[in-house]
């Protein structure tokens, strides 16, 4: 499983293979040059200083100086190219990850909080970056140094080398144990950082409510709890390291002691020289130093591995809806939408029961019913955000299962109950559906709404703020509505999209819809009598069932539930 993550991570971004290879070569070159230095120094001392030959010393120093200059350029280049590999890797992963996230079905976003997903794009990438920056290059050089040192040690004396390496299996076991613990704790570190960010995100986006209700202390307490869990997970990882790292050091000391002990005996018996022993000790350091460096990187690697596992858990999520179906139905037949015995459930109880109706081209339909009756659910099924649990939803007599996601998006516009605007100007928001094609000025003049925007200091260029917070809720709705209308889709669904508007603004936008698209089929969910009376036919929902579908007059005369609603409207009149 471990190898799987590692190999997959590598395979995910083939673009970096070549640069990685070259960067490694350069890094190797640097290591090679670095090795020359001590050689020159010891020669300088042995043959220069010891023999009182200053000329020779100068010569060696000059060469040393040149290697230093070379070393500077090579290391600098090596660091740069390995850094580049890391940055490009993280960049590609980010791009892939977000692209994939945005392609997932709506219900994925219902199960996963925004903050957690943001953590995957930020904090997890940081831990990857750390590995890419520090780890990748030194692992290679470390491994090579260890390899070289092992050979050197064996060349000096086989028996002592074997003895000194006897302790290594122990190290292997320790590393294994460490790995298991590290994987578990890093996974929970990643898990909790997601929770921290999502708690933070909620605390920020809900700050207005929190302040209005003086809920600061409780919120902080909740945040602190999550934050503390993250801290605990981090400290657990610190504990793992604090036990594992000393273990390495102990191995090192023990094996040096073993070598000296047996070496001393061998020297006594004359089968080893002091010089050989010194050399052996020297090379053992060359063996252990990179090993310690390696274990350091190993830790970063485990952390990055956990992040990658998180990334894969998202990448492995299959977008259902955009994959199924590739039909694009013809737009001429009469029946635009047809629900055939539709049942639907969000995963809990069934919220639509056996709903059947059909809507013809150009019809203006209103949906009424109590809250929670399933009106928005119908809208979302029309939008193909979900597929029905049972029965069938058809567009132009093709099942929504077979219809391509793209077709649905190009032909259906939807104004959700909660109007969401993007940061930027009103203009940018209005042309959202097709920034290059929409000629906003002339469209607005055409439908006579250009004046509406004169209320702002900067007109259409007024900034709306995050989620549209810097305009009033009604204005926000107006902009969101107009955005959908300007998309000029065949079918348009308004989900209580005029609830916060005054009646004047509402009727002006509904008029605009009519002007803009003559044969547009519109479905309006609303609670205000004025809005509903504009519709040709009214769909009455009650507790997930369709209880009436007719025009106002007929419903008023023969539909109990509708009569009740109407009497509520006319209560005072």
């Amino acid at each position: 499983m471990r190898d799987n993550t590692f190999a997959r991570s590598f395979k995910l971004v083939p673009e970096v293979y070549r640069p990685f290879f070259f960067a490694s070569l350069i890094a190797l070159l640097g290591t090679g040059i670095r090795m020359i230095g001590p050689q020159l120094i010891s020669r300088g001392i042995d043959n220069g200083v010891m023999k009182f030959d200053y000329q020779y010393l100068l010569q060696q120093c000059l060469i040393y100086f040149f290697t230093l200059v070379a070393l500077y350029f090579v290391t600098s280049k090596a660091l740069l190219s390995i850094g580049l590999v890391g940055e490009s890797y993280v960049k590609r992963i980010r791009e892939k990850l977000f692209r994939h996230m945005s392609s997932l079905d709506i219900n994925y976003f219902e199960k996963n909080k925004t903050g957690v997903l943001v953590a995957r794009m930020t904090s997890d990438m940081q831990s990857l970056n750390e590995f890419a920056r520090e780890g990748a290059s030194s692992i290679l050089t470390s491994l090579l140094t260890i390899f070289g040192a092992t050979i050197a040690v064996f060349l000096v004396d086989v028996q002592l080398s074997l003895l000194s390496f006897l302790i290594l299996p122990l190290l292997g076991i320790a590393t294994r144990i460490f790995r298991n613990h590290a994987d578990k704790t890093y996974w929970s570190v990643r898990e909790w950082i997601g929770q921290v960010l999502s708690s933070l995100q909620e605390g920020i986006s809900g700050v207005r409510i929190i302040q209005a209700y003086s809920d600061e202390t409780k919120q902080l307490k909740r945040f602190k709890e999550v934050n503390n869990e993250h801290l605990k997970a981090n400290m657990q990882s610190a504990k793992n390291i604090a036990i594992y790292f000393p273990f390495l050091e102990i191995t090192r000391v023990t094996s040096i002691a073993v070598v000296i002990w047996f070496g001393a005996a061998r020297i006594k018996s004359g089968s080893l020289t002091v010089g050989e022993l010194v050399a052996l000790l020297f090379y053992l350091n060359y063996f252990f130093d990179p090993l310690i460096q390696l274990s350091f990187n190993y830790d970063i690697l485990r952390s990055a591995g956990s992040s990658m596992k998180k990334v894969f858990s998202i990448l492995d999520e299959e977008p259902m809806l955009s994959k199924t179906g590739d039909l694009s139905p013809e737009i001429d037949s009469g029946r635009v939408i047809e629900f055939k015995n539709v049942d639907f459930s969000y995963g809990r109880e069934t919220v639509l029961h056996d709903v059947s109706f059909s809507i013809n081209r150009g019809e203006k339909i209103a949906i009424v019913g109590e809250t929670g009756a399933g009106k928005s659910t119908i809208a979302k099924l029309i939008l193909r955000f979900y597929l029905p649990t049972k029965g069938d939803v058809q567009f132009y007599e093709e099942s929504s299962k077979d219809i391509s996601q793209k077709w649905a998006r190009k032909n259906i516009a939807y104004v959700p109950q909660e109007s969401f605007l993007f940061r930027g100007s009103i203009r940018e928001n209005l042309v959202y559906s097709n920034p290059d094609k929409i000629n906003l000025q002339s469209e607005l003049e055409n439908i006579g709404l250009i004046d509406w925007f004169e209320r702002y200091e900067n007109g259409l260029d007024q900034d709306v703020g995050e989620r549209g917070a810097n305009v009033s809720a009604g204005e926000r709705q107006f902009i969101a509505l107009l955005r959908a209308v300007l998309a000029k889709r065949q079918i348009i669904v308004f989900d209580e999209a005029t609830a916060n508007l005054d009646i004047e603004s509402e009727s002006s936008i509904l008029d605009a819809t009519d002007t803009l698209l003559a044969y547009q089929t519109s479905i309006v969910i609303a609670h205000r009598l004025e809005t509903i009376l504009n519709a040709e036919k009214i769909l009455v929902m009650s507790e997930g069932k369709l209880v009436g579908f007719d025009n106002h007059k007929n419903l008023l005369s023969n539909n109990k539930i509708y009569q009740q609603l109407f009497s509520a409207w006319n209560l005072v009149n």
Binding site: S205, A212, F223, P246, F385, N500, V572
Partner: protein
């Protein structure tokens, strides 16, 4: 020469870091002490080996061999322990500092008023609390090791000086060299790494926004557009990171080079001195041995110094947020609301602006206690703004607002806000349970009270049908509920606190007419005990109110009964024009 270290940014960040150390004194001390111990044991090792070989093996003294090997093993094991201890406690400091920063950011951000949050995107604040805080952590993680190494460096330099004055001074030169390099690097790197941090914040903002609006993105089939926006932001990170990388790779190898250059200089000068017999050969060899010992500490120090600029830049970004002064705070000598007050309201000459945009211009309004008043006006006329001003969510520019004769600026914020309860136009639910959402801001609300409020808001019925009833989590922003259900939860929340003044800002817009009627009837009883402001454009609701306040052009245009206003005020009447024509 070392100007960077004297810049205000640098100083601020350092004093911020010192605060972090102070909060974790004990762990910081332990980690530093064990780092020091480690350093000394590292130096001891070659010495012990030398003794084993010279006094033991070469001198053929088995006892010495045993003694010194035991010493070496003991020292080695102690060193191993010190590594573990240092690691653990330096992480303890750094993680605690990081968590502390997060808590502080969260706390502080809650104190900043609406006008701040109108300007600063969520993602930006998140970036400060996540990636910037982690960057600061890094400095703390390395600090103990670095400070021990710097100490070691000083001691070694002293030893070297005592061994040979000229050679020692050459070695000492390395210290200003490293500092000079570091300051040079820092002055360049701070700006660049700030850019990296800003680019990261921009991306966080972009991702947070696109994911938050994913329903809109998908409804328009604009996934491609969203990805492109995020990719642009990612590209910006990449570009600025490359700039930083280029700078770093120019400097960092120089840091590494310093010890080597010093060895070179020692070799040249020392060799010269030895050859000309100013120095004995033994002294020279010993000296070079010590110079080798310098390499490692110098490297660590350089590494530490090269990480500093990023941490300073990140620290400054965090400080920027923490130093933002909350504009709306408690009065120093707060007044109390009169116990027998009935919630009368008085706005005198209130002016208010959002930025440059004037919303209210000397608005005057008086509302008697326990009345139910409809606030009516066209979209954007300032109804919601009026609602925000009462609980002091925005500060007015001039004039005064009084509740029961007490100016709201003289009240404790928590008092004011528990007495003025506002149900927002857009009901925001937390991903908590239904019960926690209703009892927001109240520590001690009983289940019974919660259910009572839910009953009035007609939320009890559907909540009790949820899988875990009141303990069901409602999903992010309450997206697991229908719009009207969300609004009713929010309404219950507003009622539960039994405020003196209740403001319903279009709080029933997603509720169907018959449920609204039921709620209205229930509310009638509650409302008779408090002043209620209802912002709405539904005629039946307006007609039920004692009076109507009609807002136009930043002023109260008219106040009175609905029927009277319909007759006397043309612009008021035209608000309901559609209503008239479509009457059947």
């Amino acid at each position: 020469m070392f100007k960077v270290f004297k810049t205000p940014e640098f100083k601020k960040a350092i004093s911020f870091f010192i605060e972090g150390i102070k909060e974790n004194k004990k762990s910081f001390f332990i980690s530093n002490a064990s780092a020091l111990l480690w350093c000394f044991l590292v130096i001891l090792q070659p010495y012990l080996i030398k003794r084993i070989i010279d006094d033991g093996i070469v001198a053929n003294n088995e006892r010495s061999v045993i003694v010194f090997i035991s010493f070496m093993v003991l020292a080695g094991y102690t060193r191993a322990m010190s590594i573990g201890i240092r690691r653990y406690f330096s992480m303890d400091v750094s993680y605690n500092v990081e968590a502390g920063i997060r808590n502080r950011i969260f706390t502080h951000m809650q104190k900043l008023a609406f006008n701040y949050h109108d300007q600063v995107p969520t993602g930006d604040l998140m970036a400060r609390a996540s990636s910037d805080a982690s960057q600061v952590r890094l400095a703390f993680a390395i600090a103990p090791l670095a400070s021990a190494n710097i100490f070691l460096l000083l001691i070694l330099s002293g030893t070297l000086l005592s061994l040979s004055l000229p050679l020692g001074s050459i070695v000492l030169l390395s210290i200003p060299m490293v500092l000079w390099l570091a300051s040079n690097f820092s002055s360049k790197a701070m700006g660049v790494s700030l850019k990296v941090k800003e680019a990261e914040a921009k991306m966080t903002t972009e991702v947070e926004e696109q994911l938050g609006g994913i329903r809109v993105v998908k409804a328009f089939g604009n996934e491609e557009h969203a990805s492109n926006k995020v990719e642009n932001a990612v590209q910006n990170i990449y570009d600025s990171s490359l700039d930083y990388l280029k700078l770093r790779t120019r400097f960092v190898p120089l840091f590494e080079l310093i010890p080597m250059v010093i060895t070179l200089a020692v070799l040249l000068l020392g060799g010269y001195l030895t050859i000309n017999e100013y120095l004995s050969l033994g002294e020279f060899i010993a000296f070079t041995q010590y110079v080798f010992l310098l390499i490692w500490p110098l490297r660590i120090t350089a590494w530490f110094l090269s990480e500093i600029p990023s941490s300073v830049a990140a620290g400054n970004r965090i400080l920027e947020l923490l130093n933002e002064i909350p504009t709306i705070t408690d009065d120093e000598t707060p007044n109390e609301l009169p116990v027998d007050g009935n919630g009368s309201l008085k706005f005198s000459d209130v002016s208010f602006k959002y930025g440059n945009e004037k919303i209210f211009d000397n608005l005057n309004l008086e509302i008697k206690g326990k009345k139910t008043v409809a606030i009516v006006g066209s979209t954007g006329s300032g109804k919601s703004t009026l609602a925000y001003l009462l609980p002091r969510l925005y500060e007015i520019e001039s004039g005064s607002i009084e509740i029961d004769g007490v100016n709201i600026t003289n009240l404790r914020l928590s008092d004011l806000r528990s007495n003025v309860s506002l149900a927002f136009e857009e009901s925001f639910l937390f991903s908590n349970t239904a019960r926690e959402n209703i009892s927001l801001g109240l520590e001690d609300a009983s289940q019974e009270e919660v259910e009572d409020a839910a009953l009035i808001a007609r939320a009890h019925e559907f909540i009790s049908q949820l899988p875990e009833s009141y303990e069901t989590k409602v999903g992010e922003r309450g997206y697991g509920l229908s719009g009207g259900q969300r609004q009713r939860v929010a309404l219950a929340r507003a009622i539960l606190r039994k405020p003196r003044v209740l403001i319903l800002d279009d709080a029933l817009s997603a509720v169907d007419a018959s449920t609204e009627e039921e709620i209205r009837n229930e509310l009638n009883q509650v409302m008779s005990n408090m002043t209620t402001l209802i912002i709405t454009n539904r005629v039946p609701t307006i007609e039920l109110c004692d009076e109507v306040v009609f807002l136009e052009n930043g002023k109260v245009k008219a106040q009175g009964k609905h029927h009277d206003l319909m007759e006397s005020v043309d612009t008021y009447k035209s608000l309901f024009l559609e209503n008239q024509t479509s009457e059947i």
